[in-house]
């Protein structure tokens, strides 16, 4: 048993000539919820995109379960790792059940239809995310929260041990944010799925992450359990803020109750 799902070795990523990430090393633990936090433009989305094969590194490599990602067949990687980008486009008129069924793409032959197992997984994914009742509706007719759950259902239908999400709760109200995060937490606990995501809300990250990575200017400046790494010093270094922290009633995760800009 390896303890790391994803390993990033000496990674360098650049858009044209602008270097976003330079020689980064990171290990993402298996079976945990890893959240990446950091200020706008710190390179966290870029990191996710290079793990997801959307960006090709200038240098270095990304390993999944110990094997270099670029040496594996794209469809095989798609059976291990599902990727949900930030606000993906919805083809107009596509039904929820059709969208979720697209998640079975890596398993299907070109002309073959959905097999029994495919249909079971698609139905399960829609039930697990609570969108089964909307399955006959077009995705573009759903509300923001429902749509986000439909995308997550599609990623679940991919039946992968690793789930990568870029800001899955952006544009959602507080209760819908909580709903999505609790869903992901449940998937992590019950099915031991490794979940990696970028998140902006510090308190949600502290509450739901089991492993937290703080990024600044393309570098990892801290990582570890939220209770260990959410400190005044780290937050000052990460965001340039003076935070007032306290523990939740069960003393398992820190809460930022107020903050001001660091002078």
């Amino acid at each position: 048993m390896k303890t790391h799902s994803i390993e990033v070795n000496n990674l360098k990523i650049a858009y044209e000539d602008t270097v976003i990430i330079d020689s980064m090393n990171l290990k993402i633990p298996k079976g945990q919820i890893t959240m990446i936090i950091g200020a706008n433009g710190c390179g966290k989305s870029t990191l996710l995109k290079s793990i997801a094969r959307i960006l090709t590194p200038k240098k270095g490599e990304v390993l999944i379960n110990g094997a270099a990602i670029k040496s594996q067949a794209p469809k095989e990687v798609a059976k291990i790792m599902a990727v949900l980008p930030q606000s993906p486009a919805v083809p107009s008129g596509l039904l929820v059940k059709e969208l979720v069924a697209y998640g079975r793409f890596p398993y299907q032959s070109p002309m073959g239809g959905l097999k029994k197992h495919d249909i079971e997984i698609v139905d399960w994914a829609m039930e697990a995310t609570g969108i089964y009742e909307f399955r006959e509706r077009p995705v573009d007719a759903l509300s923001g929260g429902q749509r986000q759950r439909a995308w997550i259902a599609m990623a679940l239908a991919q039946e992968t041990e690793i789930l990568i999400l870029d800001e899955p709760t952006t544009y959602l109200d507080m209760s819908h944010q909580l709903e999505i995060l609790q869903l992901l937490q449940k998937l992590n606990k019950e099915q031991k799925r490794t979940i990696v995501m970028v998140l902006h809300e510090l308190n949600n990250a502290a509450k739901f992450a089991t492993h937290l990575v703080g990024m600044k200017k393309g570098k990892v400046i801290f990582e570890g359990r939220p209770i260990d790494v959410i400190t005044k010093e780290n937050l000052r270094a990460l965001y340039g803020i003076e935070a007032q922290l306290q523990l939740d009633p069960t003393a398992t995760y820190p809460i930022c109750i107020d903050f001001s800009l660091h002078k």
């Binding site: 995109k49 997801a52 094969r53 959307i54 067949a73 794209p74 469809k75 095989e76 990687v77 798609a78 059976k79 790792m81 599902a82 990727v83 949900l84 980008p85 993906p88 486009a89 083809p91 107009s92 008129g93 596509l94 039904l95 059709e98 697209y102 998640g103 793409f105 890596p106 299907q108 070109p110 002309m111 077009p138 991919q158 990568i164």
Partner: protein, 334 residues
């Protein structure tokens, strides 16, 4: 959804059959239904036989082939460029094919009133495919900067289209009368002069290309989700986009070889089909093919008969429907 698809396909097929009969019946020489059936059963007169098998049937089959290939090319281009308005005419593929044909005509004639030679006619399909590939290479080369940005591809395509049309006009000015007329039917799109030779040459190519597109229709579905999701699902985007572009080029070139540059047809079929059965390609493509076939056959029947004995190029008749629809789509686009 399944039932709705079958229903839509059934209705479109019935419509196509109806227009097929109408097209067989009508023309300068009007036939009756009974005469048609008699001729099909081998009991017709020699005259009826010539009108049906020599003139109208090859023309109708050409029209259906053109409709099928342009709408399939439209489905492909709309997905790989993520642009609702993409179709082979707008981005210059048809124009590239038309330019190559015009160059061929211009280079092969010496006398002002000469008709086209036989070898020129036989070379046309090959030359038009080369022309479409040339245009595609130009568009791809100009819009490629470490991978293809879909929007750049469309904009470059529109520019290339305008450029090629300018060159065509330049050549037209220097043409002899006979050549000019021949070239004009290619530029504005016409089914005048369809023959079995063309059908025999184009039908296998078009069927093969449509078959390949249909075989890869799931990849097109996933491409609709955007580059990031498609990559995550195991699609090598750059490679697939190139492959699909080649398929679209082949289809557009075959259609242009048959009927010249017909714009908007590749837009109308896919759109109407998408509205009825949704964006899943294994349903959209067949319905789009039928709808485009219905439109072009109807337009061609009108082109032949409205101002008979004068014939309007079918491309112009289609534009009469296509332009307002295109503007309507532009207005709806956010």
């Amino acid at each position: 959804m399944k039932n709705k698809t079958f229903l839509a396909l059934g209705i479109a097929l019935l419509l196509l059959l109806g227009i097929f009969l109408l097209s067989l019946l009508s023309g300068t020489y009007t036939l009756t239904l009974k005469e048609i059936f008699d001729t099909f059963l081998g009991k017709g007169t020699k005259m009826h036989h010539t009108v049906i098998f020599g003139l109208r049937l090859p023309r109708i089959i050409s029209a259906v082939l053109v409709g099928a290939s342009l709408s399939t090319a439209g489905c492909i281009l709309q997905s790989i460029t993520k642009n609702q308005l993409a179709e082979p005419g707008i981005i210059g593929l048809n124009a590239g094919a038309a330019l190559a044909v015009v160059l061929l005509i211009a280079s092969n004639s010496q006398n002002y009133y000469d008709a086209l030679g036989t070898h020129t006619i036989l070379l046309m399909p090959i030359v038009s495919i080369l022309g479409a590939f040339g245009a595609a290479l130009l568009i791809y080369g100009l819009s490629c900067r470490k991978g293809i940005a879909p929007n750049r591809l469309i904009l470059v395509g529109i520019g290339v289209n305008a450029g090629i049309n300018a060159v065509i006009t330049l050549y037209q000015l220097n043409m002899s009368k006979g050549d000019y007329n021949q070239a004009l039917t290619w530029i504005s799109g016409s089914l005048w002069g369809s023959s079995w030779q063309f059908v025999y040459m184009a039908a296998p190519i078009i069927s093969l290309l449509i078959g390949m597109t249909f075989y890869k229709s799931k990849v097109l579905d996933v491409i609709d989700l955007g580059d990031e999701l498609a990559t995550g699902l195991g699609v090598l985007m750059e490679k697939e986009r190139r492959k699909f572009l080649m398929l679209a080029v082949g289809l557009a070139a075959s259609a242009t070889a048959l009927a010249g540059n017909i714009a908007f047809l590749g837009l109308l079929g896919p759109h109407i089909a998408k509205r009825i059965v949704g964006p899943v390609h294994r349903r959209q493509i067949p319905l789009a093919i039928l709808i485009s076939a219905v439109i072009i056959l109807l337009a061609d029947t009108a082109s032949r008969n409205l101002f008979a004995p004068l014939e309007i190029p079918v491309g112009i008749t289609i534009s009469v429907i296509g332009v307002p629809y295109f503007i309507y789509l532009m207005a709806r686009e956010k």
